[in-house]
């Protein structure tokens, strides 16, 4: 809550000020705000590029010849091909731009799937408890410790047997990534649910005769989801990295079906030895930028949710409207960015 709200609790900020990211934007100051804004701008550019790919890209992702005949392979950057052509004879710039679209599609599918499954499982598991809860916790902990890329490889083999078209490839990559993410959402939502279940308002709801489904959906779910924007941004960036990793290992989507940065980097591997830099540098930079943008947003959200890391506006304004919200129940994410393990089992370390 902004500081003004703390002093006048009856007046609530307008609805858009309370939206997840907008709220934190208002809360942030100085360097933190700079990082958040930079992240939002880069992410917006990434999304816009993905949406406007057909307009922005000079050629198609699978296009091999222009009006003047074939593009030719491994041509250095020129007026016609601003970033040169690949070993397969594709236009690098076009594939970089189209690649953002593939990445975005995978992110959307992966995050949507893992949120739905993870939140549902976490809610049910945390709310009802019992043996189902115990089994799910052990399984999710085990999967959580699994090297994510290996799990993704196994899933990619299962789903597509290694070779795929656009839809198949995107779903293979997205589902592979989903399997890695579900334990994260599960853990967070479950822990929140267990905590909220003990709150007085849940008790009151039960007293006035609300059913389990209503309590779960109306009282618990709404309060358990506040940390999701943070995990979501971090997972989105991880999704890009996993997709690229899969592509790099040869589980990419065929170049005629879609553009994929990891696949292009794989093909550029041998170019590097002969000094051809443009085929690898640009798709790589695209990955770095996209991940950077999403990570900056995620990290800023993480810091703002952590009272130890949040920069205060000024000492006088120090009064907080609400108690600082720990991102992970029972603690804070100390190392939200360690790639695979977005969430530390903080409950194990007594702080």
């Amino acid at each position: 809550m902004a500081d003004a709200d703390a002093l006048a609790p009856t007046r609530r900020a307008s609805w858009w000020r309370r939206l997840p990211v907008v709220h934190q934007l208002g809360q942030s100051v100085g360097l933190q705000r700079g990082m958040l804004v930079a992240g939002l701008v880069i992410s917006a550019v990434f999304v816009l590029t993905a949406l406007l790919a057909p307009v922005l890209a000079p050629f198609g992702y699978g296009q091999l010849r222009g009006p003047d005949g074939p593009f030719g392979a491994q041509r250095p950057p020129s007026a016609e091909h601003l970033l040169g052509t690949t070993v397969g004879g594709y236009d690098v710039l076009s594939r970089v731009i189209w690649g953002s679209r593939t990445a975005l599609m995978v992110i959307v599918v992966a995050v949507a799937l893992s949120i739905v499954v993870g939140v549902l499982l976490g809610l049910v598991s945390g709310y009802f408890g019992g043996w189902l809860d115990r089994i799910l916790v052990v399984v999710s902990d085990a999967l959580y410790a699994f090297p994510s890329l290996l799990l993704a490889i196994v899933m990619a083999i299962v789903i597509s047997r290694g070779q795929s078209d656009l839809v198949g490839g995107i779903f293979a990559a997205a589902i592979s990534i989903t399997v890695i993410f579900i334990p994260q959402y599960f853990r967070v939502v479950r822990a929140e649910t267990v905590r909220i279940k003990a709150e007085a308002f849940v008790e009151s709801a039960r007293v006035i005769g609300a059913g389990n489904v209503r309590i779960m959906s109306r009282h618990v779910l709404r309060n358990a989801t506040r940390t999701l924007p943070l995990i979501l941004t971090l997972n989105a960036s991880e999704a890009i990295l996993t997709l690229a990793g899969l592509g790099f290992l040869g589980f990419g989507i065929e170049p005629t079906e879609a553009a994929e940065w990891g696949y292009d980097l794989n093909k550029a591997l041998s170019d590097v030895t002969s000094g051809i830099w443009w085929t690898s540098v640009f798709p790589g930079l695209a990955i770095v930028l996209a991940v950077l943008g999403l990570t900056l947003v995620g990290e800023s959200l993480n810091d703002l949710a952590d009272p130890r890391l949040r920069t205060r506006r000024a000492v006088v304004d120090g009064s907080e409207g609400v108690a600082p919200v720990p991102v992970v129940p029972g603690g804070v994410i100390d190392d939200g960015l360690d790639g695979l393990d977005g969430l530390e089992p903080t409950e194990r370390v007594a702080r």
Binding site: L31, A145, V158, L265, V281, R351
Partner: protein
Amino acid sequence: MLIFPTIFILVTTVFVLMRSTGDPITASQGGRLPADQLAERIHLAGYDRPVFTQYLEYLGGIFRGDFGTTLSDNRPVTEVLTTYGTATLELAFYALLVAFLVGVPLGRRAAYFRDKAPDAILRVFAILCYATPVFFAGLLLKLVFSRWLGWLPVAGRASTGTEIRMQRLNKPSGIYLIDAIQTGEGAAIVDVLQHAVLPAAALGLLTAGIFLRLVRTNVIGTLGSGYIEAARSRGVPESRLLRKHAYRPALIPIITVMGMQIALLLSGAVLTETTFEWKGLGFQLAEYLQARDFVAVQGLVAVLAVIVAVSNFIVDVLAALIDPRVRY
């Protein structure tokens, strides 16, 4: 003591997933062999028996340390592990070294200059380390240091001459640095180290970013705690507070996180080894993937999962020994 159920769940997951869409021979050879030959090979390998029988056999095998035999070159997975495991171990060791040497001191500096320019630069550096896929970092390093500057070799673990010399040793350890020292030739040692620099940097920087953040967060956390305040009020200078009082407790969580890094390190090793043709487990896994040898993939992934689970367990025990606050 969750290690045994964890291992059980991991190997079961691998089995169920890999077998959920059919047997590995159809998967790798389907369409390339006539149907009757295919059926015969499936029969010979025992894949036409009930899945549950095969599962029990698989579990029994793992219990005895048998993770199956590869299809493409007919080697036991454990042999692949012992042949190539040392290379991965060596790479992981170098990478952790880089991560420590880069991440920990920089994290301390970032905490010291909290919210000032050096902190901002270091944090962006940390995020960049994370945001750069290891294989892209590897490609860039190769491009700059091998191709343009010509300082370091492009790929491999050693030059051919050195490798031949090391194979002549009567007991090669497989860890090239040790073997090179055994040959007693300075040139061999330099050669091996030169080959290790770029892969170690690529994989190490990924982890360095994580260490940097972690140390920063924890030092900031401990700097705000009561005993620091007490020390400060006694007039202990700020630099000493950081160096002596806040820094050491902040290192404890690193040990726990190291355990989690092993999983990341292994994932990263697969990609780094492919980039640098570093002939370790990850490189081998990628080769088997290319050859569509899914028995080998299943075996290797199961082995790696067990390694990760065991090392996580060891790290947890270590953390509990070092930090009395951790209790299970």
